[in-house]
């Protein structure tokens, strides 16, 4: 047995004894019903999601399927200089092809660990979104890790059907989002208030999160 293994076993043994040293006060985990704020029958999840996402400082552009490419084109034109590199990190191959076509010559080659630091915009789709908190859920399922956090601008494409009512649903739903090596729930642009409580965005992650909400 390795030293590592015996240290782990020793810890387990000590924890076992410590647990027994006091009476068990809670035998069952209580119902989490009170945790849920938004239920599945909420009439318009897309509206709620858009409101909450805006409240935490993300920008939301609402389009229908036909308007998606134009919206992405406009966002790229707004945020990125003509020579700025764009990384496309999509699980949905069809969306990836469309976004890559829009990025055109600015598309970064998707072949090494270092590329993200050279990119100005990361375009991703999402595993799902959460209406209650206005959050995006993005994982490494089919996506380059951190394409949503390293470049200064994150463009996220969300389909209305992907919106879950509540955070609770993320943990109870059948999505495979949490099976990935890395999953991030994003609830706003990167921010700090460390210096005298003054809010500054874009400290390490993106200064702007642009959501294109497709209904």
């Amino acid at each position: 047995m390795t030293t590592r293994q015996s240290a782990v076993d020793a810890l387990l043994a000590r924890v076992r004894a410590a647990v027994r040293a006091q009476p068990v006060t809670v035998r069952e985990v209580p119902s989490h019903a009170v945790v849920r704020r938004v239920t599945c029958d909420t009439a318009n999840l897309a509206d709620l999601f858009a409101t909450k996402a805006a409240a935490v400082g993300m920008r939301v552009t609402r389009v229908d399927e036909a308007g998606l490419d134009a919206a992405v084109t406009t966002l790229l034109a707004t945020h990125a200089q003509a020579d700025a590199k764009v990384v496309v990190a999509m699980r949905d191959a069809n969306l990836a092809a469309r976004a890559s076509a829009i990025a055109g010559t600015r598309l970064a080659a998707n072949d090494n660990d270092d590329l993200l630091f050279d990119c100005f915009v990361g375009i991703t789709d999402v595993d799902c979104a959460i209406a209650e908190s206005g959050s995006l859920v993005v994982s490494t399922n089919g996506r380059i890790r951190n394409a949503w956090v390293t470049p200064p601008i994150h463009v996220a494409i969300v389909r209305a059907a992907q919106i879950l009512p509540d955070l609770v649903d993320l943990f109870e739903s059948a999505t495979d989002a949490l099976d990935a090596a890395s999953t991030t729930i994003i609830t706003g642009p990167s921010k700090t208030a460390d210096i005298e409580g003054v809010l500054v965005t874009g400290v390490h992650g993106p200064a702007a999160v642009e959501i294109v909400l497709v209904s």
Partner: protein, 498 residues
Amino acid sequence: MNPLIAPALPFDMKPRAREAVRDLKLQQFVGNATHLKDTQRGGIFDRDFGAEYDALRTVARDTKQYALDHLDELLERFIANAEKSGATVHAATTGREACDIALSIARAHQAHGRAQSCVKSKSMVTEEIGLLPAFEAAGIKTLETDLGEFILQIDGDAPSHIVTPMIHKDRVATAKSFVRELGARYTEDPTELTMIARAHMRGLYRAADIGVSGANFLLADEGSAVICTNEGNFDLSVGGPPVHIVFVGIEKLIRGARDLAPFLKLLARSGTAQPLTIYTSFVCGPRRAGEHGGPKELHFVLVDAGRVGVLASEKRDLLRCIRCGACLNACPVYRKVGGHSYGSMYAGPIGAVLTPELERAQGGANASQSGAGLANYPDLPRASSLCGACYEACPVKIDIPKFLLHDRTRLRERGLSPKSEGATLALWRWLAERPTLFRMAIGAVRLHARMLGQKDSRDERAWLTRVPGPGAGWTQSRDLGVATGESFREWFSKRGSR
């Protein structure tokens, strides 16, 4: 280790507290920031949970208590699942052991004696075990990537708040250290200062050999860790370097994602009045086949450092703490004396009870400590007015006043407490006068308009409910006979005329 958070023992709190109450700037910054956060916390829970807030806290309390009461099962499950995901799990009894594990991981990756570098995301447990000094001594250049921790690091300062570590520092100090340490041009603008730090760190992320972080939660079912940040620095710290080490106290375990929602909903609301932190990041094993980015090796170092002893003690409840910082913001004493007065990385009410307990439970395992517990921190149990604000603020309902009283009684029994002076009412009066003094102080030093702008009548009410007339609403629920006789009046009378 930095003596601000790891002082010589026994620790005498009084000189630091005296200095803090005389420091107008500290009074202004800490007073305003904590006051504002405390008010905003109340506001967001009113808005989002209303009358159900208390029920939510009860759910969180019982869910975490369940985890502690079954920690052996959860730990076993976590280890099995983490290893299944490809991570390596280590166990450390002491802080020193935890550092040694990390050093041996680092050495295994060192190429031909080349100097190594590390990017580190904010973590309380790494402060506790003294990882940074251990890495620096071994020649591993380590960068604190959380902006507040970074500023403290380049100044040789130490965190004074669990969530907002540089709450005691201002922009002028930051501007000066950026000129001195980074060769930046002088600016006091927080946005410009932040961008200077960002630019400085970008290259260091790319080049780092090792990433280090703590964790807010460990999920037994998934074998993964959950890390909450606002800056996104964890994601960058774990995404770049080929090796990542997560240091985590064993009390962070919960059953799994199925139990996570109550804590996530409480944590950021309690700490900073946000619905969730900007980034809630899950890490499950190293990078997978075919993936770009992410560590090739992921290590968990499970840290005891006194926790097992606390688990076995009648203070098991303390391990429910999710380090949200709400009790610090709510505490009238923390607001006056600041974080460094507590002589620990855990300041405020939770620190006052947890610090002696962790020290005792380690039984002198650390060279700098004796394991004497309370006798090493005789002032901490008195650093409270027992107003109950910490308990009311605590999202997992830790009855901190109960434990403080318990410690006071033990100190008295052991003859370590001064004779009863009936000073508690004087303390209340003193605290009640402070808002006026704050306002006078404000005229003397620059105050950022944002802080003033957000003070409203609601804020005043919050203060008034926290500082009732002498003893009001308090003597009913607390035993005055036990609570009195503490040292606050002493400190304040000694510090001379205001």
